[in-house]
């Protein structure tokens, strides 16, 4: 059931990320919903889930955008692997780790994607715009990743994938 939830959540996240408008003030930064979901699985599950989430999220982002196939996949797998190494160090019921990893993860994935994109094609994006985009995605990650934790965590608890008392985050607040 956990795998079904993973697939459905990532599919839904892809559709939502495509539909929601970009923020013009932050250099057209999009809400980093897919990185947020990947960070959730990296911090609350073992590496199999995390890397699968990274693979699927990256694959779908590449498929529905002009990004060459494989670039987002590589980026999100790296995000999953690096974040997963901190799994045992984070406080399970705190909101702070998702915010922190959301900010750093959002900015890092944007930067890495930019580096990979300019290797594939000449860049027409001005440096200032790219810098604003990196910071903007990081800023949006602070809000978006905790929301992903709340939503996916609630879904997992409702479907019995995790025990309610061992829920990954603010289970007392929700219940």
């Amino acid at each position: 059931m956990s795998w079904v939830v993973l697939v459905m959540v990532i599919l839904g996240g892809t559709v939502l990320q495509t539909l929601l408008p970009a923020l013009h003030l932050l250099a057209d930064s999009k809400l980093p919903i897919l990185p947020g979901i990947v960070i959730y699985y990296a911090l609350t599950r073992h590496s199999g889930y995390a890397l699968t989430a990274g693979l699927l999220a990256g694959f779908l982002q590449d498929a529905v955008s002009p990004i060459p196939m494989g670039l987002s996949t590589l980026t999100f797998c790296l995000l999953a692997w690096v974040t997963g190494r901190f799994r045992n160090l984070v406080m399970p019921d705190s909101m702070l780790p998702p915010m922190l990893f959301g900010a750093v993860g959002g900015a890092a994935t944007t930067l890495l994607l930019y580096i990979l994109l300019v290797r594939h094609q000449p860049s027409s994006w001005p440096a200032g715009w790219v810098a604003t985009k990196i910071l903007g995605t990081g800023l949006l990650g602070i809000f978006c990743t905790p929301m992903a934790f709340l939503t996916v965590g609630w879904l997992d608890r409702k479907l019995g994938n995790v025990a309610a008392k061992e829920g990954p985050l603010i289970s007392d607040l929700v219940e």
Partner: protein
């Protein structure tokens, strides 16, 4: 521990395979995924817009909406006819002067609805349309509204198409000035007009930029900019925008003009994809 190594190895293998897939396979994969996601995008867009329209005009019936759509098509048809007639008049004058024969092309317009704004990553300024190769759309076709050019089709699947907007820095359009015929290359600047968000109130609207204009041919603010047809992608004579500012380039070799697009890119709902058709003497909308 062993299991973890296997997982990492498998993930690495999957990434390497995806990175090294041949382009036709990549294109087929992307088309398949887009066609799979298209029904969810259509449904979500329908829900968002339906809800918005129901709140904005609760008394509006389905009949009114259908009539509204028909009127949009009629207006587009008429505006293109007027534009075509003006171009015919200009061509006629030139032919009379030069006594040359020119073959006029007629175009087929396919009405499409916008189902998503922006790509999932936010790096390109794009739109997603609800029609694809099943409806005859091809990559590299001009996309217009009754007001003017908005972009070109980029990636096409069976049921959806992506449109790269003219405000994207990666989009280049060969243009000419309506009055003096000076040529230039239009490209997007780093912002804008894909979504009518409140955030746009806090940032100045930065238009497109047209480079390499001959500095001996005067370009003035307010002048119309049209497609020149020279690039091979966009048909000749499509309105693009108006010049808002002209300045000399840093190299002092040519002029640079800032161009405000004619089309309202922030409020697009219906657009037309332009396909070249055998000459039948009329514009057809499908």
């Amino acid at each position: 521990m062993q299991g973890k190594k296997y997982v990492i190895g498998l993930a690495l293998l999957a990434v390497l395979v995806l990175l090294n897939l041949p382009i036709p396979a990549t294109a087929r994969l992307k088309r398949g995924v887009r066609d799979g996601i298209a029904p969810f995008q259509n449904l979500s867009f329908f829900l968002f817009h339906g809800l918005g329209e129901a709140v904005a005009s609760p008394g509006e019936s389905r009949t009114s909406r259908t009539e509204k759509q028909q009127r949009i098509e009629q207006v587009a048809n008429l505006q293109h006819e007027v534009r075509d007639l003006r171009r015919l008049e200009r061509d006629n004058d030139e032919l009379r002067k030069l006594l040359e024969y020119r073959d006029r092309q007629k175009y087929r317009l396919i009405l499409c609805e916008v189902i998503a704004r922006g790509d999932a990553s936010g790096w390109w300024q794009t739109l997603t349309l609800n029609r694809g190769s099943d409806d005859g759309l091809e990559p590299g076709s001009a996309v217009v509204t009754p007001e003017g050019l908005i972009g070109r089709t980029q990636e096409i699947s069976r049921r959806t198409s992506d449109v790269l907007l003219i405000t994207d820095p990666n989009c280049r359009v060969s243009c000419e000035l309506a009055t003096h015929g000076a040529y230039g290359i239009l490209k997007g600047k780093e912002t804008v007009l894909t979504t009518p968000t409140r955030m746009e109130m806090f940032t100045p609207l930065q238009p497109c930029q047209m480079d390499y204009i001959d500095k001996d041919k005067p370009a003035v603010p307010g002048e119309d900019v049209l497609t020149s047809g020279l690039g091979g992608l966009f048909p000749k004579g499509l309105p693009v925008g108006k010049i808002s500012r002209v300045q000399i380039d840093e190299s002092k070799l040519y002029l640079r003009a800032e161009v405000t697009p004619s089309a309202r890119l922030g409020a697009l709902r219906y657009v037309f994809v332009v396909l070249q058709a055998p000459s039948t003497g009329e514009i057809r909308i499908e």
